[in-house]
Amino acid sequence: MEEQQIQEFVHRAVMDQAIRSEIALDPAGVIGRADLSPRVVDILIRLAPYLAFDRPLDADEKWWHA
């Protein structure tokens, strides 16, 4: 299920510094290698800057700006 795919990938990224470093270098490559639906790939690529760089969410940032 796509929700589960997102949860599992985020969990791995948050728990593992090595994965975060890989995402920082090549987000599309790392995310593309995982067995994910195209829609989930697109979403995770949008989340990648936050997962990889520990970039904080702007206080006013909303999903419709993502």
Partner: protein, 345 residues
């Protein structure tokens, strides 16, 4: 700029019609109701931003997109009824959550509750008044039925949310959190879409499709709100929301909290009964870091799932509209603008 101008024209027409309805209220009630409808995000808010009155604009533009031309007066009244229903539920939420909003501070909880009651009644009066416009009685009946169902469903969502406050976070799961989000925000956005479809004169199957669009968007919006609420708590106190309690402080079991709790139990072997996020910012050192990382994971996973529901809604809208794309104004109101539309704007 064309979209903004289009929205402003529609908003003015809706405001003008709303003032007509407010004139029919007793003076003792009129000021409070008008004040509630003038709060930020509401139709009468000044100075107006492009999405003030969004809840009224949505059914109006959806009706227009689904079947042009539409009868403007019934569509406007249905749109205004939607605005009143949401304004009422927002007020009730504020009191239930003990949020010290500007209106609650000025009027007190009792007047706010009374205003909410008046707004629900006003919404129903607006829909009944469609009969005076020579609209088919079935339209008025179906709109009223949709409003009643949605309010009951939203109440169920709110009730489940309140009851969940007493349960350990690990007692809930992702599916239950999404069900609650669907009942809360999903029911209201679903109603807005249904009302637009009914005013466009669509048959039942298509109305149900519109309802599903609203449900998906509502889930996305609720999850997004839940994720951002938590993030505000993790920021420095000076940047936290003023006068509002966060979901954590209220022991709300939103999706990010539930996901974080499951992570803490599974990854750090914490006892489910001992997991408590309410004082995360005052915990020390390693424990704070453990809780903060779990919350961060919950926040990002929830945001990702919110984006997922938003994309499902976008695909659903494309199916609904068929060969004719949704107007830029409708996409703006739904929050489903494409990048190209934004550039042109």
């Amino acid at each position: 700029m064309a979209v903004v101008a289009d929205l402003e024209i529609a908003r003015r027409a809706l405001c003008e019609r709303l003032f007509g309805h407010l004139d029919g209220l007793h003076p003792a009630l009129r000021e409070d109701v008008a004040e509630a409808l003038s709060m930020e995000g509401k139709l009468l808010h000044r100075p107006a931003s492009s999405l003030d009155g969004r809840w009224a604009l949505l059914p109006f533009y959806l009706a227009r997109d689904l079947r042009a031309p539409i009868e403007p007066d019934p569509a406007c009244d249905a749109a205004l009824a939607m605005e009143c229903v949401v304004c009422a539920t927002d007020l009730l939420d504020d009191v239930m959550d003990d949020d010290r909003t500007p209106l609650v501070e000025r009027f007190g909880a009792a007047r706010v509750l009374n205003t909410a009651l008046a707004l629900v009644s006003l919404a129903q009066r607006m829909l009944l008044a469609l009969l005076d416009l020579d609209c088919p009685a079935v339209l008025s009946t179906r709109l009223l039925d949709a409003v009643q169902r949605a309010i009951l469903l939203a109440s169920v969502g709110q009730q489940r949310d309140l009851l969940a406050e007493r349960r350990p976070a690990c007692d809930l799961n992702r599916e239950e959190c999404i069900e609650i989000a669907a009942a809360k925000a999903g029911s209201l956005l679903s109603l807005a879409c249904q009302m637009g479809a009914l005013c466009a004169g669509l048959e039942t199957t298509r109305v149900d499709q519109c309802a599903e669009l609203g449900r998906l968007l509502g889930i996305a919006a609720q999850l997004d709100n839940d994720a951002h609420d938590l993030y505000h708590l993790l920021r420095p106190a000076t940047q936290a929301g003023r006068g509002q309690k966060s979901d954590l402080a209220r022991a709300k079991k939103t999706l990010p909290v539930v996901l974080a709790a499951h992570t803490l139990r599974a990854t750090h072997a914490l006892d489910a009964a001992c997991i408590d996020f309410r004082h995360v910012t005052t915990r020390v050192d390693k424990e704070r870091e453990t809780y903060a990382n779990a919350l961060k994971e919950g926040i990002f996973a929830t945001w990702g799932i919110a984006l997922l529901y938003r994309e499902r809604a976008r695909e659903h809208l494309d199916l609904l509209m068929g060969a004719r794309p949704a107007s830029p104004a409708l996409c703006r109101v739904l929050g489903l603008e494409t990048a190209l539309a934004k550039i042109e704007d």
